[in-house]
Amino acid sequence: MSTEQLHRIRLQVNGVAHEVEVPARRLLSDALRHDLGLTGTHVGCEHGVCGACTILVDGTPMRSCLMFAVSAADSELTTVEGLANADGTLGPVQQAFRECHGLQCGFCTPGFLTTITAGIKENPSPSEDEAREMIAGNLCRCTGYQNIVKAVCRAAELAATHSGEADQ
């Protein structure tokens, strides 16, 4: 029988607080997927290289496979499930991926969407080179990246119009 100690923690994900009981070794990626059923966050390599598991921790992109759930209890987490607009329509980065055909199998997509969401907040009008730099830490085996680069620039446009409308 395992006597592994469990930790009762509160995870704040996409604005909702969840109470979970996890062993200390539970990766944050696994806690999201298995304990909370938020399977939008994907796990590719589980050692920090592919970027599929990228989520926003207090607004900053981080690898959820390189964090333990117990270490994330003080933070505000955003996963791909939290990127849609409040009315349920696609958020600007999601919409841009759809328009630009920025995905094929979609396995890598959640990590790109979260990374780009934070990226265009930091740099609201990226050049093509800056768009490439923004996604350089995420791997995609299908698209060849061209359409993802286009989607970054399109997402920035959409986000600008979106916030422009919100200001009016």
Partner: protein, 294 residues
Amino acid sequence: MKPAPFDYVRPRTLDEAVQALAGRPEAKVLAGGQSLVPLLSMRLAAPSLLVDINALPDLDHVRVDETGVRIGALARHARVLADPEVRRVQPLVSLALANVAHPTIRNRGTTVGSLVHADAAAEMPMVLRLLEGSVDVAGPSGRRTIEAADLYVGPLESSLHHDEIAVEAFFPTLPARTGVAFEEISRRHGDYAMCGVAALVTLDGGGAVSRVRAGYLSASDVPAVVDLTEPLAGGITPASLEQAAAVALTQLDPETDIHATAAYRAHLVEVLTARVVTAAYQNASEHTHQSTQE
């Protein structure tokens, strides 16, 4: 694979953290986790206790004055890289940090964690040695300062005791009339480099070379620094640069792995030594020129 089970504490004071490590030689400090968590997931390490230092107060500082740059244990790479004062006072720190992994890894990984992880393929341990910096550590008997020259004792091995926590790193500013440069070559941008070189070139009042030192990553099993003053004292020429690279190679030991052969790494040492020393010399000449104009 998943990590093996371990006990976990997240202390709120440095004293508690040091106490938690006491008497537990198989315990490990968890900082950014960007090196440690992969090791745990691959079961290359299986500590019985993790002491998570992320909730410790007052350790995320980056302080800059005219003597140099002080970086707290919880300052993430990204934060240090974004600081314009760091770039002004010690440009080599910023030049090298831009080559540490990808932005997403830099958002979580700490510069101090990278220093004590002591990877000979990592940028910052080599830079700390080249700049003759130091790391302050806290342990059961108080604080002590470890000079960079005494910090690296073997592959992935630092001279920290198991119950010590690194609290701050110090990168001194550049001496007068000194220039720096850094370049590395990797298979993909953001990967660990197959070889990387940083150089410091100091000129005398007349603009002649008075001191040259170069740091090498991925060219031996510990972060390496080589004094190249002798071959270059007569001036920076193609012949003296070739001579300098030969001197460097006598003190390095590049190895073959899946990324590159030893012979290719040795070739990169030659190419990068020439390029980086030349660039550091130009950088020093610009500084010297500027300061005589002022």
